[in-house]
């Protein structure tokens, strides 16, 4: 059983290592052709969402559409377009959704501000809880009043007598 699992692990590891190798070979070949353009292509592709497989960038995705969009980006780089022009080209066609970093505007306020609001709320709750707890603990730590002390003494004495 253990041996089978180990074999499986090595087979899988080998598989991933080999696919990674292929991918980097392709990238390197392309990089060699025009390193500056290729670097820009990779940086831009990593900012753009593939609309078919929605949680991948067009750099990661091998979907048809991602390949087409990479081809478009490459053509625009060749034509001397700026990064902003290329991003605008994508946004006018596919909307803000194509951006992996959505712009801050009215409709995305909750998206950007939400985590901060939750953090602040959490801190407020935490601080209030800590304060109340501190008060409670302080109340318990108070030295006994004369009355309480004599009662405690009486109780202890009672125990001793038993």
């Amino acid at each position: 059983m253990k041996r089978a699992a180990l074999t499986l692990f090595f087979v899988l590891a080998g598989f991933f290592a080999s696919t990674a190798g292929i991918a980097s070979e392709i990238n390197e070949a392309a990089l060699a052709a025009d390193p500056v353009a290729e670097k820009r292509l990779q940086a831009l592709s990593a900012e753009l969402r593939c609309l078919v497989c929605q949680n991948q960038t067009i750099a990661d995705s091998n979907a048809e559409l991602a390949q087409d969009l990479r081809r478009e980006v490459r053509a625009m780089i060749r034509d001397g377009k700026s990064d902003q022009q290329i991003i605008d080209f994508m946004v006018t066609r596919y909307g803000d959704f194509v951006l992996y970093r959505p712009p801050v505007k009215g409709i995305t306020l909750l998206l950007w501000g939400g985590p901060v609001v939750l953090l602040v709320l959490g801190l407020i709750v935490l601080i209030r809880y800590q304060r109340r707890r501190a008060l409670r603990v302080a109340a318990q730590d108070k030295p006994l009043s004369a009355d309480e002390a004599s009662r405690a003494e009486a109780l202890l004495k009672e125990l001793d007598n038993k």
Partner: protein
């Protein structure tokens, strides 16, 4: 006691937020093209390959642009709806055949020449329309999908409603169902044709 209401309220709000989120369709990406002029193209017509069509040729008419391909499974589902529509309603439907050959995935495009691709695309598209019926006034051929990119196509089938001035008024991603037709498309067409 009071604080439990707070916690319960917060929890209910969270459940409501997640429920809304789960019911949204992540495939339904709002198109920035709605309200903008339909992007220009000049593409060859399927039935008469020596002729071309541009959106300008449709100026003055309300028309539908329907993106399809013979390899697209959902297109098969929506096709009878379009055929029915074209029989009943006097609104031209233009077909945009999207990447007929290279979108299929069954062909090694590295080995296929441009002429061979064109021939195969026309043959396949014609065959498909002969088999399933032809609801289109015309179909134009977007072999490499460039026009598809200009229209923000990301999931075939897609349907656009374009008004007399050539402005895109609606984009529907996914198959046109009788419901979509009755509730979204028909009322809009009636309004635009007033």
């Amino acid at each position: 006691m009071n604080r439990y209401y707070w916690i319960l309220g917060g929890f209910a709000a969270l459940v409501a937020l997640l429920a809304i989120g789960l019911n949204l369709n992540p495939r339904d990406v709002p198109s920035p093209l709605v309200g903008k002029p339909a992007p220009a193209f000049t593409l060859n017509v399927l039935a008469t390959p020596d002729k071309t069509l541009s959106p300008q040729d449709m100026q003055g008419k309300v028309w539908l642009l329907n993106v399809w391909a013979s390899w697209c499974v959902s297109c098969r589902q929506e096709h009878p709806v379009l055929v029915e529509f074209s029989k009943k309603v006097d609104i031209p439907v233009i077909g945009l055949n999207y990447k007929e050959v290279r979108g299929d995935g069954a062909f090694d495009m590295g080995k296929m020449g441009a002429d061979e691709e064109r021939q195969l695309a026309y043959q396949r598209a014609n065959k498909w329309l002969a088999e399933h019926g032809d609801p289109y006034k015309l179909t134009v051929m977007d072999l490499d999908g460039r026009v598809g990119i200009d229209y923000g196509v990301y999931g075939v089938p897609e349907t656009y409603v374009i008004d007399k001035a050539g402005t895109i008024r609606l984009k529907h991603t996914g198959p046109v169902t009788p419901d979509v037709l009755a509730q979204k498309i028909m009322p809009l067409l009636a309004e635009l044709n007033k």
